[in-house]
């Protein structure tokens, strides 16, 4: 085993420690690096800005705790934006692990902004059968949601009185770490002409670009960076922006790792070839 090989195959636990430090240090000692916004996120922001006050926005919490650190900040930013613009928010949930997160986020944001449940926002809760639920909302919300999360009949909720189906909703934003936004595209946008935007984990973000090009999605908020951009747009710094320093440093570290690893690999291959040649 030559020196390059030894270098390449060091115990990975050393690398783990480096990564933990690269995240923790910038969190404790922030650098305050500037964040630039990108068109897909700006489009979501502009779409919400363009809605008339009083137009309901449907935010679908389609994620569970596994992706909460990534998607929670953007959900909060979107909620704050809608409530500040006096757009009533209807919150639905299409993954079973999600309703608890929706309860937590809506109640906290409402308290902080003095919003009233069932007037400024409403939490409809979780329903099974993703595509069936999305389709049913295009006919009548009451098909899948006879009652909200808190067991109140829909007709007794002031906010829902004038909401029958997608015709009465200005924008749907599906926030998810799965392909559920694709179902919103296929069943709410294509079938009922509903405008749809998506907030997704970075794992999925690159896969959603075809929908942006066709206009099937009006905009896309991707990962924690997307949340940070949104926080910048609404001028309310929170967890997203706070995390960006650490994000930048770890990305740099990983790029350095890739370069170092490949350089060592090339030298190792050369050294091997040379020793094989000399053996002959």
């Amino acid at each position: 085993m030559n020196i390059f090989e030894k270098f390449l195959y060091i115990d990975r636990r050393w690398i783990f420690i480096l990564v933990a430090l690269a995240v923790a240090v910038p969190l404790v000692f922030p650098l305050g690096l500037a964040v630039t916004t990108s068109p897909p996120v700006e489009n979501v922001y502009n779409e919400i800005e363009s809605l008339k006050p009083g137009t309901p926005v449907l935010i679908s919490v389609d994620y569970d705790p596994a992706t909460q650190p990534e998607l929670g900040p953007m959900t909060i930013a979107l909620l704050r934006h809608c409530i500040a613009r006096k757009l009533p928010v209807i919150v639905t949930v299409l993954v079973p692990g999600g309703p608890g997160l929706a309860v937590d986020i809506t109640s906290k944001v409402a308290e902080e902004m003095g919003a009233q449940r069932d007037v400024d926002y409403t939490l409809l809760g979780y329903k099974v059968g993703v595509s069936a639920v999305i389709l049913s909302l295009g006919q009548d919300f009451r098909i899948s949601y006879p009652r909200d999360y808190y067991n109140t009949p829909l007709d007794e909720i002031p906010l829902m009185k004038n909401v029958k189906n997608y015709n009465d909703v200005g924008l749907v934003v599906s926030i998810s770490g799965t392909v559920i936004p694709e179902y919103w595209v296929a069943y709410a946008h294509e079938r009922y002409g509903q405008k749809v935007a998506a907030g997704v984990t970075a794992v999925m973000a690159a896969d959603f670009y075809p929908y942006l090009q066709t206009g099937q999605l009006v905009g896309l908020v991707g990962g924690l960076k997307g949340a940070a951009e949104y926080e910048k747009l609404i001028d309310r710094p929170a967890d997203g922006l706070k995390g960006m320093d650490a994000q930048t440093i770890v990305h740099l570290l990983i790029v350095v790792f890739i370069i170092l690893g490949n350089v060592a690999y090339i030298f190792m291959r050369r050294a091997k070839k040379r020793s094989e040649a000399s053996a002959r």
């Binding site: 195959y9 990975r12 690398i15 783990f16 480096l18 990564v19 995240v23 650098l31 690096l33 500037a34 964040v35 630039t36 990108s38 068109p39 705790p65 596994a66 992706t67 909460q68 650190p69 079973p96 692990g97 309703p99 608890g100 997160l101 309860v103 937590d104 109640s107 329903k127 099974v128 059968g129 069936a132 639920v133 389709l135 049913s136 006919q139 098909i143 899948s144 999360y149 808190y150 079938r191 690159a206 896969d207 670009y209 075809p210 942006l212 090009q213 991707g222 960076k225 960006m244 930048t248 770890v250 990305h251 740099l252 990983i254 790029v255 790792f257 890739i258 170092l260 690893g261 490949n262």
Partner: protein, 221 residues
Amino acid sequence: MRRELPLAICFIMGVIMTVQFFIPHRYSQWLFENMLRWLIIVFTFALILGILSLIKLHIQKVQYRRRDWLYSIVALTGLGLSLVTGFMKGPESISEGQPFMTLYNYVQIPMQATMFSLLAFYIASAAFRTFRARTLEATLLLIAAVVVMLGRVSFAAIFKDLSLGFSTWVESWLPGFAEWVLDYPNMAAKRGIMIGIGLGAISTALKIILGIERSWLGGGD
């Protein structure tokens, strides 16, 4: 009865939902709305079935003292806690501030969220030890990855803070270039894949409705 009837039901339901799509008439809407209403209810049972099977598995593990049965007791205890707190106050139990939500917020969320953050460590070590530009293809992949990784974070800002000469160049070009890569070459590839996946899904659905593909029936007669 055991195979023909479920196949027939599957066929009829599939055809109804497909044909309904093309008929805007109110009779068709009425049928559609009722089907959706029913689907949600039946599907709820399907998901509950999954949980019941899981409980059965852990109970059997404890019953027959299979390997790691002690951990199954841990799982069953957690399950019991959730169920008790979830039902003790009727529909009220799931509102904010209730014990059920405390269990969710301080036990389920931390663990589930931490699980996938483990990957951050593995990705870093793989970046160093495994991601190799072995072939031309892998090289292209890594270059695109690096562009997106640096273009989507405040990489350029570091240069600015260090006031290096070429900082403005990096600052103005890199994020735009990353966005271009995502908008055009990436988009083209993803669209190609998407059309393939779409055709695959349609063909699978067709085979199931027409009864050509029957593996969903499971074994037995």
